[in-house]
């Protein structure tokens, strides 16, 4: 008898556990954000601030509430909340409900909100996910709002918006700032060994410089840190060869296998020769906070330009931004990236208030003084020029860097196809097996291309 009841109990437990598997979301904060977004720092803030301040409506306009979602670290959250307070002062009839979290938790939450038809009105979008959402008609076309003057882009050059405009002229989002890929270098380390990386330096120059430091130093030294941005650097590498990671139709890859093989050789030989960190060391730094470049155990690291703002706060050493390596006799591979953007969800019932919010973030000089270009260099020339005279330190470096990069750019690739995340995952797994020396560049390239093509079908 007792046996029976235990058995019954166990099967109930079994069923319950299934429910847990099938219906269990998680919240976590791993940081495999391949630095595409340059989240400055990596606050493990999983909060969902629900500050419901009722605005006093003095001008008889209808009271509305909009939900605004973004990702980032603690400092970004605080700056954004301050800017929102300013917005609510200026538009007393609009109440903003902020929803913020770190990079990983952000996308998990957004997709579940999308599944529940409960997306926020204003959504922080990343280029890598844009088509995922737009191809499912979840984002509103902003062109009508721009035409009506609700979102004013008069001071914005096309280059900052091109990537967000589809072929048939729909505007998916408004960029929040521009950045570009580059390297953050530790000037203290470089000057100690008399090494300089002049703009225009090549991949070979980089390897030589790192080899020189590695041979002269008797301390732990990891050289050039790819900083989990191996895939981003390959974007540049492919473009320097006049090709691209994805093809024009976004249904397959757009580069030759031998190019990927040579890139994989670069990565693997660097690790094997002790001028790039092995993967287990990279894993140690996965949580952000500190970095090899900041500690001086690496001389340079791949990064998005605005990441120097967060990184500079973690170290007393001199850091500066520099171009990524160039390809001898190759083309310009870099591009100015509208780093992230604000979109309005197609289900939003508060289009005008949402548009006002985006307009405020784009054009308000006061707001941008608070926001400190943390999401990238502002896209409005008015705001940019105003801030350029004010900012100092690493923020000023990002402004200067974008001017330097301009001479090394070619037109941006179109937005990556949906499935980019999975392709990236496959790429990073291949990079891992190369760094552990468990695959040859030829095999890894072949396997990646097979996996990527089958994902993109």
């Amino acid at each position: 008898m007792r046996f029976r009841s235990v058995k019954g109990l166990l099967f109930v437990v079994l069923i319950m556990s299934l429910v847990f598997i099938s219906a269990c979301g998680g919240d976590g904060s791993n940081a495999t954000n391949g630095n595409t977004t340059g989240s400055a720092g990596d606050g493990n803030n999983d909060g969902n601030g629900d500050t419901n301040e009722t605005a006093s409506s003095g001008d008889g306009e209808e009271e509305v509430t909009i939900r605004v979602a973004w990702w980032g670290g603690q400092e970004r959250h605080e700056m954004t909340l301050d800017a929102i307070d300013l917005f609510e002062e200026e538009y007393p009839h609009i109440t903003v409900e902020p929803e913020y979290t770190d990079w990983d938790g952000y996308w998990e939450r957004l997709s579940t909100q999308g599944a529940g038809n409960n997306l926020p009105d204003v959504i922080n979008m990343d280029n890598s996910r844009m088509t995922e959402y737009s191809s499912r008609d979840l984002l509103m076309d902003l062109q009508p709002l721009i035409d009506e003057g609700l979102i004013n882009l008069d001071d914005v050059d096309d280059v900052y918006q091109d990537i967000n405009v589809t072929e048939d002229g729909a505007v998916l989002a408004i960029s929040l700032g521009a950045n570009a890929l580059g390297i953050i270098q530790n000037d203290d380390v470089l000057s100690e060994y008399g090494v300089t990386l002049e703009p225009g330096y090549t991949y070979e120059d980089l390897q030589e410089a790192m080899t020189q430091i590695a041979s002269e130093t008797d301390e732990e030294f990891f050289g050039f840190d790819l900083n989990n941005a191996d895939f981003e650097l390959f974007y540049i590498y492919a473009r320097q060869h006049g090709q691209s990671v994805f093809n024009e139709n976004a249904d397959g890859l757009g580069f030759d296998e031998d190019i990927l093989v040579s890139y994989f050789e670069f990565i693997q030989s660097n690790v094997n020769n002790g001028i790039s960190p092995p993967h287990d060391v990279t894993m140690d730094y996965i949580d952000g906070g500190n970095s090899m470049t900041g500690e001086g155990t690496a001389a340079a690291a791949m990064a998005a330009s605005n990441q120097i703002i967060g990184l500079a706060q973690t170290t007393d050493m001199e850091l500066s931004l520099n171009l990524p390596p160039t390809l001898s006799a190759g083309e310009n591979g870099n591009w100015i990236r509208p780093s992230m953007s604000f979109a309005i969800s197609s289900s939003s019932e508060q289009q005008e208030a949402s548009a006002a919010f985006i307009d405020f973030f784009t054009n308000s000089i006061e707001a941008n003084e608070i926001l400190q270009a943390d999401r990238g260099v502002p896209i409005s020339s008015e705001v940019r020029n105003h801030l350029a005279d004010q900012v100092e330190g690493p923020v000023a470096q990002t402004f200067e860097y974008l001017e330097l990069v301009e001479d090394y750019t070619s037109p941006a690739d179109p937005l990556p196809p949906p499935g980019e995340g999975e392709v990236r995952g496959s790429f990073q797994r291949m990079v891992e097996s190369l760094k552990y020396d468990m695959a040859t560049p030829e095999d890894a390239a072949q396997q990646f291309m097979q996996e990527a093509e089958s994902i993109l079908q």
């Binding site: 437990v13 847990f20 219906a23 979301g25 998680g26 996308w107 599944a115 499912r136 993967h279 140690d284």
Partner: protein, 285 residues
Amino acid sequence: MIISPWLLGFFLLILGPIIASLYFSFTDYDLLSSPNWVGFDNYINILTNDPRFRQSLTVTLIFVFVSTPLKLIFALALAMLFNTGRKGTGFFTTIYYIPSIIGGSVAIAVVWRIIFGRNGAVNELLQSVGLSGTNWIGNPDTALSILILLIVWQFGSPMIIFLAGLRQIPTELYEAASVDGANRWQSFKGITIPMLTPVIFFNLIMQTIGGFMIFTQAYLITQGGPMDSTLFYALYLYEMAFEYLRMGYASAMAWILLVIIASITLLLFITSKKWVFYESEGGKS
């Protein structure tokens, strides 16, 4: 009528999601657009065309078959230790139970990384006796062992259950045995273990099922890496569902896992007839 609230909860919170996930497993549901029926495609792809599924199943099976027995041995050993009836054992029981409470937390994950990291305490200890360590968590050959260690260290729940089981064993049995000249090992083998078998069985089932569903610790410490060496089944399922938005595929994976867990549980039940003794069955022992 009285149980209708319970029924409502059952249908809404348990049966509903179960049926929904079964339906999704036959679709290409991506969380953001409406699902399209794809028949058995997900199941076929998982079983024939997905090396990472095989990797995650292998890792999970190794994990379950190594960690569960170890955990039960530890739990029983500690329970025996605390079953003396002396004063103060309650305090120590609590101390040993703490890891199970905090084990799934970010703090423990960080501590584990610090202890087993490249410049961690373990390596410093090894260096002080002239051995060279490795980056335990960053090495594909050792990362899984570190996680097994962490889970075995969380033996609190089975320990408490064993303790309750031990207190159920009548002391007359031990007295009778010692009169007959049995030593401690003999009474352990002849009395403690047979009398405990129902409890051992219960713990074995619970820990096995729990083992298959390990997620949090790996998610926080290794994220499945390096080289997929700690890619537990639930971790891979989660990645598919929430990172790559392949909810249909993930639902099919969940149902395959259910079948696997159910088969292993059934197997345990069948073999249990051979080694689990219930008092009601009379003196087989």
